[in-house]
Symmetry: C2
Subunit: 342 residues, 2 copies
């Protein structure tokens, strides 16, 4: 098992990436390849106590994709960037999975351009896992494609279902469609058409479609996969983030309101940390880009060493589970037209 | 000032509606008219100690719109329903504002059909106010219209701006467009086209457009109005609800985790209740249906007496502020085509 890490992507790169790689190299039975400016990466490696580890190596890449680069062109313009080099390595079989905490848009475009989509898949999709008190829920898509067709949503349903089954360990994952109500006839044109496709796939026994779900259902444990167009999915994901932040700031206000409350805060401090961790992107790991021929994992831009460690664990799981293989094997059931997007 | 209340709408009708009306009649300088099955309403009125109040009256309506009725036809099929009668009364000037906790879809269709949209307004919109640590933020639309055009979004921006200015007391309300990123070029086709319209309206000084905002920005106080298509807005609103519920249930878990934590919980209990109240729909009041010629307020389906009391306060504010008048006076700046939807 070999995991390729873009050492230069993310707010805390390369230091946090290298530190996470060192912990992962010590903790997992896998080889880690760090791609980035060699001298810089090696300095971080020495500082993190990873110099002597046999299962960490460095591959030089002079350039770096930044947030200022046009995402759709970053990897083709900067062919020597750590991101592009890492993507080519996983494409060419020099690694089993690739992780980057760099620009989401650049990684998505780069993965599509270099590693390619699975034949028949119209659009790659982002499928982060959110907490729901159970095994977690895959929200797919979350921003890769704002304007979606019903067929894209059908494909997201299959891809999310394979991911939930193979990575989260859900048996017959319950797949729901994001809508403005739970009745079958709800929603706009996109949702009505997608509902019909998902229902047909459910009736054929290809996915376990449980119907429409609302925004309030996401974290309840009612489903394992929630299918959304990339616009609404992105809004939803970021709204959860914002609501959690708002609630914690309000909670802080409560705990600072009086001396009595401050004492109470001390008592529950440790347990609250656990609750915060559950909603913390660095604990969740990264977001899988589904529909690409090889596992490509987007780690959060603000990833610290712990987040990178978790992303490596997730990348290993993705490579072992061969989600892409399951998607490719079922592509015939995920199409409604032969020509579009191919 | 006369407020018409649909006494039969909502999960706790007529009892909670009547109780709320009694408190409102005692607390506000306004006349309250309860519309519903007279005998039933009068029994509740006696039980709530409101029999002798000079500023409460009852208008009989034999039928009731239920959740089983087709929302688009409920008010035209059940002409004698409390909802339809109440809407006709406000249309005919027999009241200054109307409130119902009944079916959202039926109320929206009924208001459009009976009270009518302001001339030139393409679609009515729902504009609930969410907490943001400041004066609140109007999220418009929240589910009235799933499939929107750029022009609808332009109109939502104006309507939300007038509401924030006149009801929330925001000076030059900051209007943002919901998107998947804050850069000007983000989003799908709808957002790109709407951005151009909102920017032009901002450049002309008609609204204070502050650009794109993400899901995570909603509760931060960065804007007073967030413009969204009804699908994404509904998802967002319900996701906030769901995330708050999830966090409170997690918090409960923390507080029950140990005897020490239980003691801590006791200490902060009262303050936490205040925090919960802030996110509680019954405290917020109701949701204004903007774009209708008269104030129509949708109270939450699960409204208790306190929620109805708050909705009455909001209805009085809406009638006094004449938001509809402001919209009508500015309609020429809110159109991009002359024919559609008229």
């Amino acid at each position: 098992m070999k995991i390729i890490l873009d050492a230069m992507g993310g707010d805390n790169a390369p230091q946090a990436i290298v530190e996470g790689a060192v912990t992962a190299a010590k903790g997992f039975d896998a080889e880690i390849v760090l791609v980035g400016r060699e001298a810089e990466v090696k300095t971080c490696l020495a500082a993190a106590g990873g110099e002597g580890l046999a299962n960490i190596s460095v591959v030089n890449a002079e350039e770096t994709v930044t947030m200022e680069d046009d995402p759709t062109r970053a990897c083709s313009r900067k062919k020597d960037s750590s991101m592009a080099v890492a993507l080519r390595m996983v494409r060419d079989g020099e690694g089993d999975a690739m992780i980057s905490a760099g620009s989401t848009g650049a990684l998505l475009s780069g993965a599509t351009l270099i590693v390619k989509r699975i034949k028949g898949i119209r659009r790659a999709a982002m499928g982060p896992v959110l907490p729901n008190g159970h095994k977690g829920v895959v929200l797919i898509d979350c921003g890769a494609t704002a304007d979606c067709t019903p067929e894209y949503l059908l494909q997201f349903a299959f891809m999310g279902s394979f991911y939930a089954e193979r990575i989260l360990g859900c048996e017959k994952p319950r797949v729901a469609l994001l809508n403005v109500g739970t009745e079958d006839t709800k929603g706009g044109e996109l949702q009505k058409a997608a509902f019909a496709l998902l229902k047909a796939a459910g009736d054929e026994g290809r996915i376990n479609f449980v119907g429409n779900a609302e925004g309030s259902d996401l974290l309840t444990g009612k489903m394992d996969v929630l299918v959304a167009d990339g616009f609404a999915g992105n809004v939803m994901l970021k709204t959860v983030e914002g609501a959690a932040k708002f609630m914690f700031s309000q909670l802080k206000g409560v705990f600072y309101a009086s001396a009595k409350n401050k004492l109470a805060a001390l008592a529950v401090k440790k347990d609250l940390k656990g609750m915060k961790a559950m909603l913390d992107p660095s604990e969740v790991g990264g977001t899988a880009m589904l529909g690409i021929t090889k596992p490509v994992i987007k780690a959060h831009g603000s990833s610290d060493a712990r987040a990178i460690y978790n992303a490596v664990r997730q990348a290993i799981a993705c490579a072992e589970a061969d989600v892409a293989g399951a998607i490719a094997a079922n592509i015939d059931y995920m199409k409604i037209s032969a020509s579009e997007g191919e």
